[in-house]
Symmetry: C2
């Protein structure tokens, strides 16, 4: 992904609604209603493109710039009014963006980028390495406090909306049991793992929740479920010509951490079939909490939240964009530091006023 | 429900952990970790009893007093340590409660009680007349501001958790369609309406979502649904001896607003069957949002939140109690005025710290 050094952005460039605006939260607060929240995107892959589409669906926002590690002239974006710049230029946009959305990966990009840019911008990221969130939070919080900015981390659906639903359900039913199922959907990590096997040209891996396990949870049976009992895995593999399919299948099914603990099915298909039938990136899942109330715990309750998504990156991007609105608003009120979905009042996500929300949605 | 004037509470009474405590948010902030949030309940019907049970499930809270319009000596509660007092005594408890939970009805109790008590206490209510929420909010906000207290209104599952899910889903998918289905569950209002018919001794009415309508929404078909297409109604009626059952059935099925717009089934059963098979107060429902993302809206998404509840009042009470925690915390931070579920950061509902939540639930 690391491209050549890009052309420089004309330093005189100002977004079309930014002319004559001063910056910072005070100035932001004084803006008229026609002023839009100026969004920047750092990293233009599936997620970045999803953010671009989501910004277009929100009338109070505008995409101002996309920052890329590739040569900007080689990156075609969809938004005519927005500028494509090299990532090295980003800092120069400090006063021309309200929120910079970081669309890099959790493995190596975000641990570096989020603290770096949280000193200069309000930022939102989708850091999803659950185990390393506390550490990421600490680093980003220091940076955002130092810069007087708001940073929202780990936004999306898991972490994100699933986390929120786990938290709400746990607060409401302190005595109960949590279940999370993922799928049916494409796991990028598992697809990559299959692609690394010798003789594999391309592959797509679907994570599939086990229907009978889900049914047992929904029936209030509070089952204890092993990894194997919760999900199965299905792989669609394009083999190189002449490759040993039996060996590939065996290598997939016995791969530790990724497949060995699951029941896995492997299908060999043609490159054309992969393109035709597996081009989308669907995903989804279920968060359930089964709990009891009453003096003798005599009453049972089931809370279920589920997502069925045609496009994992576009849905993730849609969540991120609502939290960009929240980050901007929090900053205009003087907040700074790192936040998660747990810290942000729901109303901050909506373009509607409190009165509108109470009248229409409560 | 209005009972005789009750015995006076000993004015020297102090909750068992309140001894030596000063009051107000500053003092509250200084309390050690063993100090619990002191809860009062006003109105001891199904909801009040549910709150009592929910408080018991939350280790950071204690029930201190129940206020009733009946003669206190006639009201038996489950919590040994708590006091039963007449509602006229409530104001005297101003400095001995952290949150007063108002468990009256929305028709006549809460419009009066919530503003009245929000001057004296942090309060939570479950006001559920959707159309009158803006007006209720305004009155309660004035009172809570004047009293320097936090009032949270319209807490429960609808309004409450369903509202939250509508709001989150609308913010995430600005282009889409909302659906709410209720049931299968007992509607108290519809049961009461049937009971008012001449010749009806007792009755229970279930609201039932139409499975095919739900299936169509889940399939992303975005159907336009009439009232009749979304829900059916099922009545279990105990008739007085010698009553004209045909006339009763006809009166139910043609009752405007309540039944005329629905397909309604009526079953006549014995009093014993009603007691045996219809003693619980189950409810639940589904909030769905079906929307599209992508530059050409080419990808569809479905967000679904559902509840399956053995006891409507106990689940409502469990939600209320988590918002009592939030009200208390907001007040200790200096907040005042009226809030709804839209205004409260999710983390305020949980007994866990921010760091614990990030490590365990994000």
């Amino acid at each position: 992904m690391i491209g050549a050094s890009g052309e420089r952005c004309p330093s005189s460039y100002m977004g079309h609604t930014s002319l004559g605006r001063k910056d910072g939260p005070a100035a932001a607060g004084e803006r008229g209603v026609i002023m839009k929240i100026r969004i920047g995107i750092l990293g233009y892959g599936n997620l970045g493109r999803g953010v671009e589409c989501a910004v277009r669906q929100n009338q109070d926002m505008e995409l101002v710039a996309v920052f890329t590690r590739r040569h900007p002239a080689d990156v075609k974006i969809l938004t005519e009014e927005a500028k494509v710049c090299h990532v090295d230029e980003a800092a120069q946009w400090k006063d021309r963006l309200d929120v910079l959305i970081l669309c890099g990966g959790s493995a190596t990009d975000l641990p570096v980028q989020t603290p770096e840019y949280a000193r200069l911008f309000n930022v939102v990221d989708s850091f999803d390495t659950h185990a390393r969130i506390p550490e990421h939070f600490a680093g980003v919080d220091r940076a955002a406090q130092a810069g007087g900015k708001v940073a929202v981390i780990s936004v999306g659906w898991d972490p994100g909306m699933f986390s929120l639903n786990r938290m709400y359900a746990n607060a409401i039913l302190p005595e109960g049991k949590d279940y999370t199922f993922w799928g049916r959907g494409v796991s990028q990590g598992h697809s990559d793992a299959v692609r690394r096997i010798e003789g594999v040209k391309d592959a797509r891996q679907y994570t599939i929740p086990v229907e009978s396990a889900l049914a047992s949870v929904r029936a209030g049976e509070n089952p204890e479920l092993t990894v194997r009992q919760k999900h199965t895995r299905e792989c669609f593999v394009v083999a190189e010509e002449g490759a040993d399919r039996e060996r590939i299948e065996e290598e997939i099914k016995t791969m530790p951490n990724y497949f060995a603990e699951y029941d896995t099915t492997v299908h060999f298909i043609s490159e054309e079939e992969l393109r035709r039938d597996h081009a989308r990136i669907p995903h989804g899942g279920f968060v359930l909490r089964s709990g009891a109330t009453g003096w003798e715990k005599e009453n049972r309750h089931l809370i279920e939240y589920s997502l069925k998504l045609d496009s994992n990156p576009e849905f993730t991007a849609s969540v991120i964009v609502t939290y960009a609105r929240a980050a901007y608003r929090l900053r205009t009120e003087g907040a700074s530091g790192c936040k998660t979905v747990f810290d942000i009042p729901p109303a901050y996500l909506s373009a509607k006023s409190g009165a509108e929300l109470r009248a229409s949605m409560l």
